[in-house]
Symmetry: C2
Subunit: 231 residues, 2 copies
């Protein structure tokens, strides 16, 4: 990764035309050749950029550009499309390169895993007297998201999805079939819990005697104190 702080102007021609007047900015050249132009505010999104695969070439400024104060011109061309990013550099204030190595990448515990954790902690949301047996209860065909017991002590298998679709109902149905063959567990009833349940999924679930529960993620997060552990 190469970090350059430079006074520069930038032109982009591709799906649109855009221009950045002369100012001091960060030029970020990544190992894959991609280039990002960042200003000192307005986070997240670069002012301008070129996505990989692309090729950076440095060329000498022509006479006109030299007179205008340009010392160096970067041309970043996309390898497949005609997109072109031209960075006209007037002055380089900082230039350093760094070997970062491979990045293992982002792990999104994401919403489904988080919902599972929250619901396990707030299992009483399913009804009075409900108690958690365990998360990720293992069966021969895979783990059930949550195994609980109701007020009468009967087993309840819970399948959690962010968006409740037919697939999720089918999945829960397979678990229920299998678990109901186990005399130690049977009878096992099913709960299909999701932030949003599609009408088709709801119909199918009801048809199979599976209860549907819509989860209010924000409210559950509000009740939860786990993210305060980071403080």
């Amino acid at each position: 990764m190469r970090l350059v702080i430079a006074r520069c102007s930038v032109d982009y021609a591709g799906r649109l035309s855009a221009h950045l007047p002369l100012a001091t900015r960060l030029l970020l050249v990544k190992a894959d050749g991609s280039v990002l132009v960042h200003s000192d505010s307005l986070s997240y999104k670069p002012l301008n950029w070129m996505s990989p695969p692309c090729v950076l070439s440095t060329v000498e400024p022509d006479e006109e550009q030299t007179e205008a104060g340009v010392t160096e011109v970067w041309k970043v061309a996309h390898a497949k499309t005609a997109d072109l990013l031209v960075i006209s550099i007037h002055e380089i204030l900082h230039d350093s390169s760094h070997a970062l190595g491979h990045d293992p990448g982002l792990q999104k515990d994401g919403v489904e895993a988080h919902l599972q954790k929250l619901l396990a902690e707030q299992i009483e949301l399913l009804g009075d007297g409900y108690r958690l047996v365990r998360r990720e209860y293992m069966t021969a065909i895979g783990p059930v998201d949550i195994l609980a017991t109701d007020a009468a002590g009967a087993s309840v298998a819970v399948e959690i999805k962010r968006r409740g679709d037919i697939d999720g109902v089918e999945q829960l149905t397979r678990y229920l079939e299998l678990m109901n063959r186990d005399p130690l567990l049977a009878p096992v009833s099913g709960v299909f819990a999701a932030q949003e349940i599609k009408p088709q999924a709801r119909t199918l679930a009801h048809d199979r005697g599976i209860r549907c529960v819509v989860l209010d993620y924000d409210e559950m997060r509000g009740l939860d104190d786990s993210h305060s552990r980071l403080f």
Copy 2:
């Protein structure tokens, strides 16, 4: 703007939970307090970030963290929501700060200006015998995008929009009223040109005797050679 290259792990808790295992990354702290975490590939989007308004505080690692090799912990808290980004730094390999000053921001010559330029160059798209008089033809209430003449030599005012909405038709109507009072120009007919024209706008335009022309941006760009000038 502060640039830090560091071996670090990152945790985010907010609208979702996410974790970045220990690796070497770029930490970018902007003047507005926002923080971006970038890896050396996969351009454009940071691996993780915190948007302004937010507050960065540096805290000492606790005993457990120190034993794990953490030398410094950054906590970036959003000012309004409960979003929190925690960066556990194991080693700082580079650290520099730079005053960038204000950025004039991106000028999207964008599609409308580009369409205007292209249509001026390809004015015959409006019909055989059409000729360009000038772009940005000035009137008392503002510039008309394009003034042209048709095959008979009569004046034609062209309003160009990316998306043709009712507003654009109203705008062109005002220009036409004004220009038709000028005996040197009158009679002036109107053309409403856009990549996409909404049904309501089309109806209104036809009702006022204004012709609608849908522009094929890609095709016009294909005929154009101006963006090749950048090469």
